[in-house]
Subunit: 238 residues, 2 copies
């Protein structure tokens, strides 16, 4: 069933950029709608009786099967020529519905963008009933996305780059304990540039948000790297 | 005349936090609505045929008389209990209108927040026809603001503090040429903390976004401080 106007506020929606780190690459979750050829970020509408943030969390849970992921709002997209009517018609048609031209979902929409960083290996996204599939795509090899979703992805990455110095961006992308090399790989992938190992290590340690743990023994004991975790108390204060 | 539903998109509005620096204090522009006792940030609705950002620029021009000010989007506020119906009824009543309970401006609104930093001495804000007055208020001595406008102000200040390290926040608050002492005062006021003169100067110069000019002669020549301006080319690249 299509979302009812009486249950939602109009002209405003949200879209989410959900990023996962494979250990080598950053990937983004993309939905493909049934019988429509439309690829999209997971998004949705806001119910009349729910907070924007709660709508986003609910929508992500319903559309991707992911629970309890931390979402950061980064930008609201309000160009008048955001054309969602065409893809929404195609999506409805793919499900066997015909939308009358005055249907509320065909009106202009402003959308609020959220991003989430999750551990690629610990989650198993599942598509909702409107979608053929939900898949991880390399950020450099996305399919053609509907409306301005490619621009939304760009802006999300820009925001994450800006936040990298002041928020523990790596925290949700990495396992609880990680090596300095793994952390460096996250930064290099997000910033799309390489660092010298020594410079990177010095910079990270100077931020004073890491805890050092035991070494990661792999057999070649003399080369075993230390494991680190984010020091939650110190991170909270920054 | 009240804004018409047919000309606007519904459930979505914007509000602006316009900050000016007096040389000593940070002030915020606040409107007082006629015969209603309602104090508010300058805000408004979005026409069906205009971009969100254009709506904000138009609204600021119409409501405050200010032209060509640079606005940064910082956050979108979407709590379901943002109660704009009560103040909107009071504002309409103050102008002699009675709103029926199904009037579109009494519905739930999500609002997009923008901030602007302007040179307090170079502008002369003027109230629009809905407002008694438009006045600069010290950020620490605001009147009781309608809806969640106090929270919007807090969030704007938080965003400006975050942006201070990476954007030339001082640029629009100061005259074109300024002394290091004036720049320090801007930072101290925004961050609400004091810096040592030498530490502050070293940090600012290390950012490499300032141009040094002639000294500011005031009579006591041996103590004349240098004048600086932001180096627009270098700022663009950051």
């Amino acid at each position: 069933m299509l979302p009812l106007e009486s249950e939602h506020i109009t002209n405003i929606a949200y879209d989410t950029v959900i990023l996962g780190f494979t250990g080598k690459e950053l990937k983004i979750l993309i939905l493909e709608y049934q019988n429509s050829g439309q690829f999209a970020l997971p998004g949705g509408f806001i119910r009349r009786n729910e907070d924007l943030y709660d709508a986003v969390k609910r929508g992500v849970r319903e559309r991707t099967g992911l629970e309890k992921i931390h979402l950061e709002q980064f930008h609201t997209f309000g160009k008048k020529n955001r054309d969602s009517a065409y893809p929404f018609k195609k999506i409805a048609a793919g499900k066997g519905y015909t939308l009358t031209s005055d249907h509320w979902v065909l009106d202009r929409f402003i959308t609020v963008g959220y991003y989430a960083l999750i551990n690629y290996n610990q989650v198993q996204p599942t598509p909702d009933k409107f979608s053929d599939s939900i898949n991880w795509y390399d950020i450099n090899k996305l399919p053609t996305l509907m409306i301005d979703h490619a621009e939304i992805v760009e802006k999300a990455l820009e925001s994450i780059r800006n936040d990298l110095g002041k928020k523990p961006i790596g925290e949700n992308l990495l396992p609880e304990k990680f090596t300095m090399k793994e952390l460096q790989k996250v930064y290099e992938t997000i910033l799309n540039k390489e660092f010298r190992r020594t410079t990177f290590q010095r910079k990270m340690l100077s931020m004073d948000i890491l805890k050092r743990h035991e070494k990661l023994y792999t057999g070649a004991a003399n080369k075993a790297p230390y494991l680190y975790s984010f020091d939650k108390e110190k991170v909270e204060k920054t």
